[in-house]
């Protein structure tokens, strides 16, 4: 299969394994989307996305094109090779059922069926459980398509409607990665109605990482991260 394309409906969760050398493009179909995402190493589920290492290695609070997404083992799961938004956040975590209920009312499957108001925390737990991962494996996740600014005192503001219809980003996977994601609203959303935003998703083969690759060369730290990946793949390279 050369390419795969699908749409993940709103308030949903999914997971899949990305192989090294493939890429994932996410597109906000209607605008105002949020995608919660976290990564695990399928060969060793104890290796997972590490937000602090990702942020501090690149001296950044926001994530955008040129940044790499690190595991706790000094390796890079994925590089952000394209991004039309300029800002994705990784510190606000997931919504809980209590947030959804206080903001938009109690969910009711009998009435709502698959239009229920799913929350990020439950979505994450359900998807993680499929791989034997439990609450103890929860770690700080990405909130893609969402921008959270801070002032001098550290107070945060979610920028509503940051993402417009057609906004997109592409992750190139630098090692085999278990991707867990959901399409639930950002936990700081104050929207009048539960935001029901689908996301389009395309998988395809990535171009080889060139010597002058933007992500690899955006910081000396990333060059070393790529060197760690190269060591991890020792024996697999042509």
């Amino acid at each position: 299969m050369k390419q795969y394309q699908t749409v993940i409906p709103p308030a949903s969760h999914w997971s899949f394994r990305m192989r090294r050398g493939t890429q994932l493009t996410l597109t906000d179909v209607e605008g105002g989307a949020n995608v919660g995402m976290v990564f695990y190493n399928p060969e060793n589920l104890l290796e997972r996305y590490n937000a602090p290492d990702t942020l501090k290695a690149q001296h950044t609070f926001k994530l955008t094109k040129g940044h790499c997404l690190y595991s706790d083992m000094g390796r890079i799961f994925a590089s952000i090779i394209e991004d039309s938004l300029g800002w994705h956040e990784s510190v606000c975590g997931n919504s809980h059922a209590s947030h959804i209920e206080s903001q938009w009312g109690k969910r009711d499957y009998q009435q709502d069926r698959n239009n229920w108001q799913q929350n990020g925390h439950d979505a994450m737990l359900v998807e993680m459980a499929k791989y034997g991962l439990t609450q103890a494996d929860i770690t700080a996740n990405l909130n893609l398509f969402s921008k959270v600014e801070t002032d001098d005192e550290g107070s945060m503001t979610l920028i509503e409607q940051h993402s417009k219809a057609g906004d997109h980003l592409t992750l190139r996977f630098e090692m085999d990665t278990l991707v867990i994601l959901y399409t639930c609203p950002h936990p700081l959303s104050q929207a009048d109605h539960y935001p029901r935003k689908p996301i389009s998703l395309r998988l395809e083969k990535a171009l080889p990482v060139a010597d002058d690759d933007l992500c690899k060369n955006s910081r000396p730290e990333n060059q070393r991260g790529f060197a760690n990946n190269s060591l991890y793949h020792f024996g697999l390279e042509a």
Partner: protein, 215 residues
Amino acid sequence: MIKESQFDAHNANQKYTVDSGDYFIRYIPAGATFRFVDLEGNQAADTLFYNAHHPAERYSATDTIREQGNVYLTAGSQLRSNENQVMLEIVADTCGRHDTLGGACATESNTVRYDLEKRCMHACRDSWMLAIAEHPEFDLDKRDISHNINFFMNVPVTSAGGLTFEDGISAPGKYVEMKAHMDLIVLISNCPQLNNPCNGYNPTPIEVLVWDTHH
């Protein structure tokens, strides 16, 4: 926010010195108040908290940050779990700001941050690994080693989305004090980092004082 403690150090029920580069792991009961003292200044106390009865419930930086709408910790901050429950509250703070974004140093991340050959330098996550290996009674494993607090460390976020590591908020004798809202396991790595200014390139001891209301 600077707020002095109501407690007298002389009345503490328990008192521990955590040497530089060492770990500390203890039960702290609900209702107890405890204090970390930066004895010589510029130290970073990399700390994790767990529900003592159910360690899968534990300190969550993201839940804490989100619920208080702020990326820094200080007096008045409620430290929350991954079930979004209040685990403890900072009741006094003479430092003013503590970091919960920067995480802990690891031999693996040291290779990325500093040099590929730094992999054998002592680092916080190794201290935690030793702590959980030497204390099976707490029933913790590597999956429980997650996103921590760095007490006494200053990691400012800029409005443009940058992240900086700065020196100069803590000083000898500054402290942070917390009240436990549930029975806790407290796990500290007293940071051995020699490659950045988080502890002035000179790791030093900290002190832990406990006022246990059950005594």
